[in-house]
């Protein structure tokens, strides 16, 4: 298990858009129960894809700028970025194998 690091409005550009490796961003908020349930799955994947995909999480309450820039209207939402562009979007709950497929697609 690997805990994804926090990214913020201030660090998003450097953490995600300028990243050399693909990045999975987990959009969450403290009041969102289902987001807490997605976290362990994301942590398992973070371990399995270590070194190949970077995993970060963004608190949409504290970082409204990025959340609104990407039109996040539903959480949990996972976005996969490659070369500064969105390469995959997952809204709501999906099986772990589906998430893995989205990551394999950008590698």
């Amino acid at each position: 298990m690997t805990h994804p690091a926090d990214t913020t409005d201030a660090t998003f550009d450097a953490d995600v858009l300028q990243s050399d490796t693909p990045v999975l961003v987990d959009f969450w908020a403290p009041w969102c129960g289902p987001c807490r349930m997605v976290a362990p799955i994301v942590e398992e994947l973070a371990g399995e894809y270590e070194g190949r995909v970077k995993f970060v999480k963004l608190n949409t309450d504290e970082n409204p700028k990025i959340a609104s820039q990407f039109g996040i209207r539903s959480i949990p939402t996972l976005l996969v970025f490659k070369g500064g562009e969105i390469a995959g979007q997952i809204v709501g709950f999906r099986p772990k194998s589906d998430l893995a497929k989205r990551l394999d697609a950008v590698l």
């Binding site: 129960g33 289902p34 799955i41 039109g71 996040i72 209207r73 539903s74 099986p95 194998s97």
Partner: protein
């Protein structure tokens, strides 16, 4: 092939409760969850009717606590989808997206999935204002009007929750009476932010990047109208997730699994419990109770059919 004593399919309250009993009974117990733990309580706010919590408890906290309890006794959780179940007596073989496992007993607690309206614009705008989880998404719609479709307990519960954020909550219901419990009806009808739109259905969800308005049709007058809202939350019942049991066990007309009072299906060693089974009360506490009943019977089944041979 890997062997499991008690395989549980579905990590909601029924499955987790079965996991606690199975693992505490020193049986090798594995919980298969295809998405996230908690089942329907993962998307519920506060639970006021679970015995032992007179002040209510957050649904998710309860689910997490139950799951921690199951893990403490040794139950294992795997985030895998079970795609097929077949008999290979005396075992039951599960096919998952990671491979096959051989189980002495299987307890299916796969629950139910929220129904969709099936109207134009709905699937296109999921995540852009169309939602099946007000607890997850209501906070994105602060100070704006939203609509909620349905008339049962879930619909009114979520409508009341949504009033914390929205400027106005329109509850659109196809009839002129509610199915919800009286206590929720009283609260919703009295709420200054909630307005009911009776005898009405949603014909279309409009918007490109975000929901802008709904096209409504009154079933009595046949008149159509436009309702400007930023979101539509849908709570119109559920369909049981019994597909994986297709052809293996008898179902009722609604797709629920027929079981006896021990949660047994006609297939030896195969159980169904919780909202998936026929005649269920569809409550958190009854689902947990079902899971426990199935786990106790599964334990008896294993000792009768396997232990004497080993």
């Amino acid at each position: 092939m890997e062997q499991i004593d008690i395989a549980i399919i579905g990590g909601g309250p029924a499955g987790i409760a079965a996991g606690i009993y199975g693992a505490r009974g020193m049986r090798r117990t594995v919980l298969f969850e295809r998405a996230v733990l908690g089942g329907q309580i993962a998307t519920t706010g506060d639970v006021e009717n679970y015995p032992g919590f007179p002040d209510g408890i957050n649904g998710l906290d309860l689910a997490l606590a139950m799951h921690r309890q199951a893990e403490q006794f040794g139950a294992e959780t795997r985030y895998e989808s079970v795609t097929a179940i077949r008999q290979e007596p005396p075992y039951i073989i599960l096919t998952t997206d990671e491979g096959e496992v051989q189980a002495k007993t299987v307890i299916v607690t796969a629950g139910a999935e929220p129904n969709k309206l099936g109207v134009p614009g709905e699937s296109e705008l999921v995540g852009k204002g169309v939602s099946y989880c007000a607890t997850c998404d209501a906070a994105f719609f602060r100070g704006v009007p939203v609509a909620l479709v349905g008339g049962g307990d879930a619909a009114l519960d979520e409508a009341l929750f949504t009033t914390r954020y929205a400027s106005k909550v329109y509850v659109i219901h196809r009839r002129d009476t509610l199915r919800a419990s009286q206590i929720l009806q009283d609260r919703a009808l009295a709420h200054p932010k909630i307005e009911f739109i009776w005898d009405t259905v949603v014909e279309q969800v409009n918007g490109t990047d975000a929901v802008t308005n709904l096209t409504l049709r009154n079933l009595k007058t046949e008149q159509t109208s436009e309702l400007p809202v930023a979101a539509m939350f849908v709570f119109i019942g559920q369909t049981p997730n019994s597909d994986v049991l297709g052809g293996l066990v008898p179902l009722d007309n609604g797709g629920h699994v027929l079981v006896n009072l021990w949660m047994e299906t006609p297939v030896p060693g195969l159980f169904a419990a919780g909202d998936l089974r026929a005649e269920a009360a569809k409550q958190l506490v009854s689902a947990a109770g079902d899971g426990v009943t199935a786990a106790i019977r599964a334990e008896h089944y294993i000792s009768d059919h396997f232990d004497h041979r080993e």
